[in-house]
């Protein structure tokens, strides 16, 4: 455990090297010829992801590197693969999107790979210092990415909102880490789990620690867009370029949940097993946040006329469902979260892929401008519809099984809090069904206006086509052939619980 063992972090090394190569290439080429940068980034992400998969096959228990500050288990491997796939899909989308932008191609790709590297590190975080650095690597990259369309006022506004609130959240997180360090004298997550911190947290003496954990949750709550730290979401989602929004809604959210799970496991996890009184009050707090998040996201989304804003609100709602799984606090809950995120990967990226393509044609994100998509582009309409219905949780699509597992984990608690949370969750399902179906209605039941911009989209690039197909198939496979993915999620959840 006290060895450097730097070979273990090979995926991160690969990403770092390819990022440096890309940086070098970017400095050496004129602004309209950035293919080299793109290739370096693509190769880096693909190799890193494959390497992670290979590591997953050879993995035995948990291994450490950098003197115990970096860990690799089934949980981190699963997330590295998820982040790798997310990055690839996002890069395919940004290749399509960048054709409409005349400058900044190199920077865009560089920022993408830096954020990806941050996510890979997040999956292996073992102490609070690494956690903070990895998280900042992601967040700072996203500050630039959201404000990337510098001629667009909304993009700039989104960037400023994100940077101000993000900096605030980081400050909270840092303060929380300081309090935790003050209370326990260690930055290592596993020290927290084993040093009896859990016992302390239940007693008055643990006030310092409790306060620290609370502040940490504030910082992470911002990342995952949970109420009451959600206000930035719709504006940033609307203002940022669509591939960035896709990256934000999947990559950044998943990274937030990875950290949340790790922190919750370290600080509160053992407590749930020992059944201390404090566990129920933390559980109730998370349940309250989850319920409010679900209601805010879903009720807010009902009134949106802009598809990206709608997806922003709905992503708040999904954070709420994921928090329901955190509230369950056990193996079933963690499994459910992991499955939900796997399903969310294909679902939400499929939706954004269509958004990117349609936006290129109509130059608009208004829901009304999707009218007639079913007739002009049947395949895109199919992908978008399946994606939205999967978000709503309709069988046999991926989102359904995720939601089912979440509800199952919560109801297993059998307490009044759990049942009320399930009731709120089911209300959210019905509301979300309404606004997703409103979009589906535009797609199939309304006709495109005469002389409107809606027509058949041709010349979809190969990678983009691959993204659409993989997402569509993924949505069905994860919804029906559940067993292999379920066992992946179960293994990862066991690894997380084992610490």
């Amino acid at each position: 455990m006290n060895e450097w063992n730097i070979g273990l972090a090979m995926p991160e090394w690969i990403l770092a090297i390819s990022a440096l190569v890309a940086l070098f290439l970017d400095a050496r080429t004129p602004y309209h010829r950035k293919e080299g940068v793109g290739n370096a980034v693509w190769i880096g992400v693909i190799v890193a992801t494959l390497w992670s998969i290979m590591q997953g096959f050879g993995l035995d228990g948990k291994e450490y590197a950098f003197r115990g500050r970096y860990g690799l288990d089934a949980f981190s491997v699963l997330f590295k693969v998820i982040f790798g796939i997310t990055a690839m899909f996002v890069m395919a989308m940004s290749d399509t999107w960048l054709k409409r932008v005349d400058r900044g191609h190199g920077e865009f790709r560089l920022l993408t790979i830096f954020a990806t590297m941050g996510m890979f590190f997040v999956a292996s975080v073992e102490d609070f210092a690494t956690l903070f650095v990895a998280l900042e690597l992601i967040t700072v990259s996203f500050y630039c990415l959201t404000a990337f369309k510098r001629n667009d006022v909304r993009s700039i506004e989104a960037g400023i909102k994100y940077i101000v609130l993000g900096a605030l959240a980081s400050a909270f997180l840092l303060l929380g880490i300081a309090f935790i360090y003050g209370a326990t004298g260690s930055l290592l997550l596993r020290d927290l789990a084993s040093s009896g911190a859990a016992d302390q947290i239940g007693h008055a003496g643990g006030a310092l620690l409790q306060f620290g954990v609370l502040l940490t949750l504030v910082g992470l709550g911002f990342k995952i867009a949970a109420v009451p730290f959600q206000v930035w979401t719709p504006d940033v989602y609307e203002g940022a370029a669509s591939p960035v929004t896709a990256f934000l809604s999947m990559g950044s959210k998943a990274a937030g949940f990875v950290l949340l799970l790790k922190v919750v496991r370290a600080c509160l996890g053992p407590m749930a097993d020992s059944g201390l009184a404090a566990a129920s009050s933390w559980g109730a707090l998370i349940a309250l946040l989850a319920g409010l998040t679900i209601l805010y996201g879903n009720l807010g989304a009902m009134w949106q006329g802009n598809l990206k804003r709608l997806l922003g609100y709905s992503s708040i709602g999904h954070a709420g469902y994921l928090l329901m799984g955190v509230m369950a606090f056990n193996h079933a809950g963690f499994t459910a979260i992991l499955y939900y995120l796997m399903a969310y990967l294909f679902t939400v990226l499929g939706v954004f892929a269509v958004v990117v393509l349609v936006n290129g044609l109509t130059k608009s994100h208004r829901v009304d401008d999707y009218a007639g998509l079913g007739r002009t582009n049947p395949f895109l309409a199919l992908v978008l519809t399946c994606g939205l219905l999967s978000l709503a949780g309709v069988p046999p699509l991926a989102g359904f099984f995720g939601k089912f597992l979440i509800f199952r984990a919560v109801i297993a608690k059998g307490t009044v809090v759990a049942y009320s949370l399930a009731a709120v969750g089911s209300l959210g399902v019905v509301v979300s069904m309404y606004y997703y179906l409103c979009v589906v209605k535009r797609i199939y039941m309304h006709e495109a206006p005469e002389n409107g911009p809606m027509k058949t989209i041709s010349g979809i690039s190969r990678p983009m086509m691959a993204v659409l197909w993989i997402c569509l198939i993924g949505i069905f496979v994860l919804g029906f052939f559940v067993q292999p993915f379920m066992s992946l999620a179960e293994q990862a959840a066991s690894a997380l619980l084992a610490g």
Binding site: P395, F407, V430, M433, L437, K441, Y444, M445
Partner: protein, 519 residues
């Protein structure tokens, strides 16, 4: 022969996949798509009829044609298919309605491919519900049926009086989803309680049926599951989505919806709520005995005031589903088997009604009875079918509806309805009177509809209409009438099998003791 249940379920799925890869450019292509759908629905029909013939009513095991496939082992989830007497009747009903529905929707010419893909997906869902013996897959298929219906009504439907088809379909979808999610919470509670009490966490209904739940658990959770599924029956006052939905849907979907989908709710109550929570059912069903009188009378009276044919049949459906609920509320052999038989009979009857209405709506573009008149002169075949349908619906002896309603009424007369929480008891004759008046009311509105639309002087606007002439157009209507008449004249064909299923419900196994206690 257990593969038969797979054939029934998979045939529409194959049709779905097949049609997905067919092209739709000319009329010949469209015909080919239709033929594919009809062909695979015939496969389902033949398989389900074979199941019906091979089903052994006296067998000791409860489910026949069992297929078990392990799905997710760690949470006790398996794809388990099979039928008992109750679901057998429903599977046969579904396959008949779908087979005729596919033929009736020949008239759809816009986006034929999408239409049949969605119709077949809907069939997979409905068959899945009736065949599943696993709670998870039961719910899975149930939810799966909702979305194709949303699109089918929204795209190919028509305006229903003052409501747009989009409003109608959204209302329907939201009602059904709400019901389903509420029921899901109840189902999961039952799953975990079964695990806690019985030690095995499993979604297998046969495992859950072995567990005896505490009375307080049953009394708390029965209403949750019941109300979740009652929204789809639909129980008054949760019915408001249903007539609008019927009226807005294209004819094949109305047929499937009124004929089969409404039965999903009652079936789910029988199969899950009654079987796993018998004491809860015993406790609460008295109230249902009271509410279903509202269904019968209110639905019937509203139907009287309607002028749109589809609304008349729509409200009459919610009135007839009141009889089904009354049958469930009696909790005795007569009432329960009557209810299941009525589900079958009503399914066939409404399918016939909506098929006919849809057929002449395509020609006249109106369903309002005041615009019609004397139609029998130009449409003798369709009119005769309609009159036969109306007679069956009004409970004329010789049709299945009569036999089944009689069973329900006899069952209701024999039982009494304890209104839990008030200490009052509703004697059996009260709902019986409501049910009998309900028959009078339904005869009234049906005869009035016949008088206004089919008899009297011919409105000259319609003198050019053409009757159903070709054999392929006549087939579905004739087939449905034959089924009604055959099961009406020889009810024991079906009732024997239904009785076998009902007798094996847990509610029935504890019933004799309670009946003795009452005396």
């Amino acid at each position: 022969m257990s593969w038969l249940s797979i054939v029934v379920l998979v045939a529409p799925l194959i049709a779905c996949g097949r049609i997905l890869f067919m092209k739709e450019e000319s009329d010949a292509d469209r015909d080919r798509i239709r033929q594919t759908a009809i062909g695979w629905s015939t496969v389902s029909l033949v398989a389900s009829l074979a199941m019906f013939l091979l089903f052994d009513a006296g067998a000791t095991e409860r489910y026949q044609f069992l297929v078990e496939i392990e799905w997710v082992e760690s949470i006790g989830l398996g794809l388990i298919l099979g039928v008992d007497g109750i679901s057998l009747a429903m599977v046969v009903l579904t396959s008949i309605v779908i087979w005729t529905g596919c033929q009736v929707s020949r008239s759809i010419t816009d986006r034929v491919k999408e239409h049949y893909i969605l119709l077949m997906a809907l069939c997979v869902g409905v068959f899945g519900v009736f065949l599943s013996i696993d709670l998870f897959f039961f719910y899975f298929f149930y939810e799966m049926a909702v979305i194709p219906m949303y699109l089918l009504i929204g795209i190919w439907g028509s305006r229903a009086a003052k409501y747009s088809k989009e409003y109608a379909t959204m209302k329907l979808t939201l009602f059904l989803t709400t019901g389903a999610v509420v029921a899901l919470i109840g189902l999961l509670a039952v799953y975990f309680e079964a695990g806690r009490v019985g030690g095995v966490y499993s979604f297998d209904m046969r495992e859950i049926a072995k567990v005896t739940f505490s009375d307080s658990f049953q009394i708390t959770w029965f209403p949750v599951i019941f109300l979740g599924f009652a929204a789809i029956v639909p129980l008054w006052p949760l019915h408001s989505w249903s007539p609008i939905g019927h009226a807005a849907a294209p004819s094949s979907v109305s047929m499937l919806h009124a004929g089969v989908l409404m039965k999903l709710g009652a079936y789910a109550i029988l199969r899950i709520a009654f079987d796993s929570l018998p004491a809860g059912a015993e406790h609460w069903m008295g109230w249902v005995g009271l509410l279903c009188c509202m269904n019968i009378l209110y639905g019937g009276l509203v139907a009287m005031a309607q002028r749109d044919m589809k609304f008349i049949i729509g409200f009459s459906s919610s009135s007839h589903m009141g009889y089904v609920l009354l049958g469930l509320a009696t909790m005795n052999m007569l009432g329960l088997s009557g209810a299941v038989f009525l589900m079958f009979a009503h399914g066939i009857m409404t399918a016939l009604a909506f098929g006919l209405i849809g057929w002449f709506y395509e020609q006249t573009h109106t369903r309002v009875v005041d615009d019609l008149g004397g139609m029998l002169k130009v449409l003798p075949f369709a009119g005769t079918c309609f009159i036969i349908m109306a007679m069956a619906s009004a409970g004329l002896p010789g049709f299945a509806n009569f036999a089944s309603e009689l069973l329900v009424i006899l069952g209701a007369w024999k039982s009494e309805f304890v209104l839990a929480g008030t200490g009052m008891t509703l004697p059996g004759w009260v709902p019986t009177m409501a049910a009998i008046w309900g028959i009078v009311i339904s005869a009234t509105y049906l005869l009035r509809a016949i008088r206004d639309a089919w008899l009297g002087p011919l409105n000259p606007r319609w003198s050019e209409l053409k009757d159903v002439t070709s054999r392929k157009h006549k087939t579905p209507f004739v087939a449905l009438i034959l089924v009604l008449a055959v099961t009406g004249c020889f009810p024991s064909l079906l009732v024997n099998k239904i009785k076998d299923g009902v007798g094996k419900l847990r509610v029935m196994q504890s019933a004799p003791v309670q009946e003795e206690a009452r005396r």
